[in-house]
Symmetry: C2
């Protein structure tokens, strides 16, 4: 018998102190979808408070409805049901910008739920007979100094990582020579064989000439990709830099729907597309991006910098694709993000990771940790309480 969605609950989790650094794992928005006696879990990679508001806000007009209105009471029994709910949220909340981030976590939770209903891993419901091992790249922030980055790269190598990505921190902010020193240090620490990627965190907005000053060091250090030199919308800038640089460009984490990621594939000359299932519209949208990337000869790589629940969700859309072997593996998780799940996706003897062969995402939240990091939140509008932190 098809199940009905009885509840959609958002939980705002946070470390006690949030630092002003690029570490997105310092807080989390956990999503629980309940259908009868089954529960699906997901995570939005988004501002928790703002995304909660988008779930429960009063309607503004027919195309600006609260996200919950398009999900509660819906029937779920097949992938087509998720597609339908997904489309309804997008349509009914078209003018509610934050809705895409809310939808993302809900969509992930729906795929987890459907996997539990069908007793299948999510990736199988997406059409992959099995999950292939992925080569995880250790994803960390640049050190405050090149020396620190050198140590981090050496440590990653010692831990057996075959690939490392450095990003954010002082890169692009401290000056050209500092950037050069950082990349050289990363390569030195990693050794000549390791895969080295660099993430500029959109620092040059659309300034191709400023980005181009790093061409020499990126090429000489044999960097595999330069990620996000520009704003996600700077398609012309991407394309222009892609013509000047032998290193491939990567981007897409800023995409909050499949269209934006497809534009990067179609117009920006990127070699790698990296969407975050917790932002792009969940597994449904990420799978569409994967399909388009594969058809266009662009590599798909997950973007993930948070918990292993989010990590598991982010790999589902390309789990079975042997020719898309790389995988972002967050290397500096906050205690919250690590504690959040019972299970963790760990490297095997080959240094590779594989999704669990279990119903849904195969990763479940640790409710003790949820309670520990839970932030009490109340939203009251016109004398009515529209949101109060649900009980776990």
């Amino acid at each position: 018998m098809p199940r009905k969605i009885d509840a959609v609950d958002f939980f705002y989790l946070s470390m006690p102190e949030i630092q002003d650094i690029g570490d997105g794992s310092q807080d989390a928005l956990l999503v629980r979808v309940v259908a009868g006696d089954l529960v699906g879990w997901g995570e939005c990679e988004a501002s928790p408070l703002v995304t909660i508001a988008s779930l429960i806000t009063p309607m503004s007009h027919s195309a600006c409805k609260p996200v919950a209105a398009s999900v509660l009471g819906q029937v779920i029994d097949s992938p087509a049901d998720i597609e339908r709910i997904h489309h309804q949220v997008r349509h009914n909340s078209m003018d509610l910008l934050q809705a895409d981030h809310a939808l993302s976590g809900i969509d992930v939770a729906l795929w987890d739920l459907l996997g539990k209903i069908r007793q299948e891993p999510t990736y199988r419901l997406l059409g992959f007979p099995q999950a292939r091992p992925k080569v995880p790249y250790h994803s960390v922030l640049f050190g405050d100094t090149a020396q620190e980055t050198l140590f981090q790269a050496q440590e990653a190598r010692r831990q057996g990582f075959r690939a490392v990505k450095f990003g954010w921190g002082p890169f692009g902010h401290a000056g050209l020579q500092e950037d050069i020193d950082q990349v050289v240090a990363a390569r030195e620490g990693l050794g000549q064989e390791g895969i080295l990627c660099v993430d500029a965190g959109t620092v040059w907005t659309t300034d191709v000439d400023e980005a181009s000053k790093r061409i020499k060091v990126l090429e000489e250090c044999n960097v595999t990709w330069l990620e996000e030199p520009f704003h996600t919308g700077g398609l012309h800038a991407y394309l222009e830099l892609s013509k000047r640089l032998r290193v491939k460009l990567a981007g897409g984490e800023g995409a909050h729907n499949e269209f934006m990621a497809q534009h990067m594939i179609d117009y920006a000359g990127i070699g790698y597309v990296q969407v975050d299932t917790g932002r792009v519209g969940g597994i449904t949208s990420a799978k569409r991006v994967f399909d388009h990337a594969a058809a266009q000869g662009v590599q798909f790589v997950n973007h993930t910098f948070t918990s292993h629940l989010a990590l598991a969700a982010s790999i589902q859309p390309y789990a079975g694709a042997a020719d898309h072997p790389l995988c972002e593996y967050p290397g500096q998780l906050s205690a919250l993000a690590w504690d959040l799940t019972h299970e963790h996706i760990l490297r095997d003897d080959n240094g590779e990771i594989t999704l669990p062969d279990a119903p849904g995402l195969g990763i479940t939240p640790n409710l003790d940790a949820v309670r520990k990091y839970l932030v009490d939140t109340t939203i009251e509008v016109g004398g009515r309480v529209l949101y109060r932190t649900p009980s776990v």
Copy 2:
């Protein structure tokens, strides 16, 4: 002496009842920016509650900060200061999706404030020596039946409007024949001379063949533009339809930054670009879109369906451009949206409208109306009240 921004206040206004129709004027988010003894006003075309949350949310990480953090305490004395604040919001709140909608109203209020500091109309600060008259098109929802649409078109003609746009309502939902009847009725009511535009409200998502079934009636009824047949991101679909259809395409209201609107100009084959200053990033972003449109031979038209404060803001970015003469003029404002401002922009004897020659936007909110429609809102996180409706 340069002024410092002392306060940024958001006010959630609403009609007592919100109907499930495409009328975006049923609620409003009013923005007040205070610098010493001067005040600037703006409006976000956005979900009020969610946008309030984006103003005051706790920081998630360095690129996901509350919008207020990049505005409060900033110096404002020149257009370059607004550009700087604008850039900071975008940079510091890159991962906060709703921030673009919040920024939009703040940016409008900053341009109003700067006009008051400099004692100049905003359009003059944007480089236009004077505001040109615009031909307002009466913008209304399709009637529930073709008969109702006929009456509305006749009424618009009787009121002396030279241009009318019908949109949303049953169009695209009721069936092909119903759509044909609607367009025929609109043309019949308006007469052969009037400018007739049709707004499909993204109803066909990316389905070019479904949209194409309306080609014959759109061409036979001499429609000036077909607006938003597809999702803002459906660039391929737009381009394909633009090749099949002699009627020009219009779109852009879904753009929440200048990049998205520029992509429509560059890749989608549209003839008219219509951004909403209350969504795209305010007057700063809308002016960039205008500059790009003008350079590419695409007509710029404001998108506005709310108050005359928003209307005044939406015309500033192309106020002085004589060769971009059309202007959306909301024709079915809610009592709230009409009451919200002391002044209204009315048609002159030529049936045209012109921006007021007064400092800033030249339109001021009626604070009695603000108090009347104000919705008390409280947001509490971790035991701290982060937002409570400010006093007017």
